[in-house]
Symmetry: C2
Subunit: 446 residues, 2 copies
């Protein structure tokens, strides 16, 4: 591997320049900016490496698909996305979010951590590996979508129409951080998600609040309904909600014990005295990684301005997300929620549900996953940081788990990379390190 | 009385012109517009009638005080205000809100019903009475404030500094409507009010909702706390909340039975199928007039825009008003609420309370109130519409009840006068009728 590592180091200026070029394209999917430029740049790089590359249209933004096939070997698929979050609030950035400026070891750019850095590290690793060894030891498929930051809304349709392109022996997911001690985070699953809106309608216009004595207030209806969903011990009260939740195995519990969670740093960064229910240690990690949530993302009704207004609101709304764990089914959760509301007398509350995503979880003992773990240990000289499930969400179930494809995620960001926030950044040294990690994984397949 | 009635009719063009002049001054107190002009016009009219008139400064807008004193007789005080609500949304008006245009029998203007029409009817009645009979049969005090639409925030201070000016045997309040059959509404009390804001603080910034598994969500805290305040039978759960509520007397119940409440019209106007708890008839009227309320005026936390955002909000707020009945004390209610929240484990919820107002209620059997009832019956030929308490609120307790002054309110608006709303209006014929009603009340004191 020393030959490849040296090649990567000798060409690091070029690899950094490739990443800067991609970060300078403002490919904000929700605003339909830079989509064509970013997708074409990715496709063009894959073609230069010898990949057979297609731009596959969807009802939204195209998927860039690239393959490097050598019959008779194993196949790895790389899942990434070329789109990024919007850069606002722009005034909070200390430099242009699409200039990809480097100061010292820090590259600041929207998308640098999520996930153009990880995507380019994979492309660069293939380049370096081919330059040093000629042939790749494994088949590679790139699936690079352009709507991850919009909830991957057209990816299921792509998967349905191209099952052959999705097939692989192992999928390398987009994310995971590099720790300060250079140990590498490996994510072997992700929670699912269900996003809903609850709406209650009252009178056809706001009324003077003197009428509150005799006219239904939709804000009260919504408050009462929400209060039935979860108790103050954080136990979700929807009948059957936990029925499909798979208990932790002993192996999972053992791995969870080894996982570092920066309790003190998190509390300090967000100005908190303690975690929910005073949790700490293993129970905290277990809840974060393995427990589903029911979260109010937003609630609004009536007057929210300065001072007082005596009004009886005409409607009330709430937005909620549920983070799901294996084997919960988002469509079933919507039905259980409807039953729950009806049974509690809230037939008047409307549920608007978005299409949800199931959770995905990979067996850490799978032989190909073990290869990735060995690569991480070789590169860093340390045991990898194993995260059994990402507490966020992504389309890992649709793309991998439903086909039985094991999945491991790793990337080039760090604990303070500020994904989705102003001043998103990575360390240039982590990017170079991440290229080596990908090359080390490829080498395990020789 | 026929002489006075005829005089009023013969001079009705002049009286209408006076009202139009006052309505053309945009005296919007919350925007500090037209205050000087409106207060000076009122003072000037009172002086022209022979009243000793003072412009009494407060920390806000001045109170216009006028008195017509004749030793040895009873004293009536007229409570009114020269300020009005803002006219927005301006685009919903079918004419200039401060043009005071008359089309057919309808005068449209901001403030025409609330309450410049009632104020001018009183001034015009004194003018007509003096022109016909010379001397008034009763002492008169005018207390015309300029901040009623801002919650009469400086009136308590005025009352404290000028107890002599407030003293009276009977106070005639600002409002009350004239029914389609020309029967006259008499309001003998008003609910009190307490306006509070509840606030819960979480992390120092919004967080990615994946953290909902382990970080307190202030929106949930607020929802759970609110849900403890009132049950779905509309019973307020704060310990001691109802302790001071005075039960209905047989006399009050008898009067309540005679009160008309336009159930069908109200349901239709606001697009409602039914009233709260399917109430109708006496239980509906009793709840509207005699029961206190706990109403959510506004609630807001997190993301309220289009589509989805997976966020854990950093704060949550709600605005509530309580309409109070005799003998509830708003300051005590704040203490009871604090105790309630603490007892239910919501020490983290902050209460911001505005200074409240107690309810006021007058004995309908009081001899001077009976005089007003007789006058209403003489003018209309019909029994008056007795409303024992206005379900809205006003400073009637501070100005009258705390000194034991009985109070009756009547005015010149109608059921569709659209107070506080676009196209506020009165019938010109109701205004002339209202002048006669005031003259008839004065005559009862001969």
């Amino acid at each position: 591997m020393e030959l490849v590592y040296r090649y990567i180091e000798e060409h690091q200026d070029m690899y950094v320049k490739w990443l800067q070029d991609l970060c300078q394209i403002p490919s904000v999917s929700t605003q339909n900016r830079g989509i064509r430029e970013a997708s074409h740049m990715v496709a063009s790089l894959l073609r230069q490496l010898g990949g057979i590359t297609e731009m596959i249209e969807t009802n939204g933004h195209p998927v860039v698909y690239g393959q490097f096939l050598f019959n008779g070997k194993k196949t790895i698929s790389f899942y990434n996305h070329y789109d990024v979050q919007p850069e606002d609030p722009i005034e909070a950035w200390h430099c242009d979010p699409f200039a990809a400026e480097i100061r010292g070891d820090v590259l600041t750019a929207r998308g640098s951590a999520d996930n153009k850095g990880a995507l380019m590290a994979r492309i660069c690793a293939i380049h370096a590996y081919q330059q040093v060894y000629g042939e790749l030891p494994v088949n590679i498929k790139f699936i690079v979508e352009g709507e991850e930051e919009k909830g991957s809304i057209n990816l299921p349709d792509f998967i349905g129409r191209h099952p052959d392109k999705v097939q692989a022996d192992l999928c390398i997911w987009e994310n995971g951080i590099i720790y300060a001690d250079k140990s590498i985070e490996l994510k072997m699953g992700t929670k699912g998600i269900l996003y809903i809106e609850l709406a209650v309608q009252g009178a056809n216009s706001d009324m003077h609040s003197l009428n509150a004595a005799v006219v239904t207030n939709p804000a009260w209806r919504l408050v009462w309904a929400l209060a039935t969903l979860k108790d103050d011990k954080e136990r979700i009260q929807i009948d059957g909600f936990y029925d499909r939740v798979v208990p932790l195995s002993d192996e999972e519990r053992r791995i969870l014990e080894t996982m570092d969670y920066p309790e003190g740093d998190t509390l300090q960064r967000y100005g908190l005295d303690q975690f929910l229910l005073s949790l700490t240690g293993m129970p905290l990690k277990e809840k974060l990684i393995f427990q589903p949530t029911c979260n109010i993302c937003g609630i609004y009704s009536g007057y929210s301005g300065e001072g007082s207004k005596t009004v009886l609101p005409s409607e009330a709304r709430a937005k909620l997300d549920f983070r799901l764990v294996p084997d919960q089914d988002p469509e079933e959760i919507v039905r259980l929620l409807r039953d729950h509301l009806d049974r509690h007398g809230f037939e008047d509350i409307e549920i608007k549900a978005r299409k949800g995503t199931r959770a995905a979880k990979t067996d850490p003992g799978h032989p190909l996953v073990q290869k990735v773990m060995r690569a991480a240990e070789k590169v860093s000289g340390k045991a990898p940081q194993k995260v059994l499930m990402n507490p966020g969400s992504g389309p890992m179930y649709q793309l991998c788990q439903q086909f039985g494809i094991p999945t491991v995620g790793f990337g080039v960001g760090n604990a303070d990379s500020r994904k989705h926030a102003p001043n998103e950044n990575i360390y240039v040294s982590d990017y170079i390190y991440g290229i080596k990690m990908v090359a080390a994984v490829l080498r395990e397949f020789v």
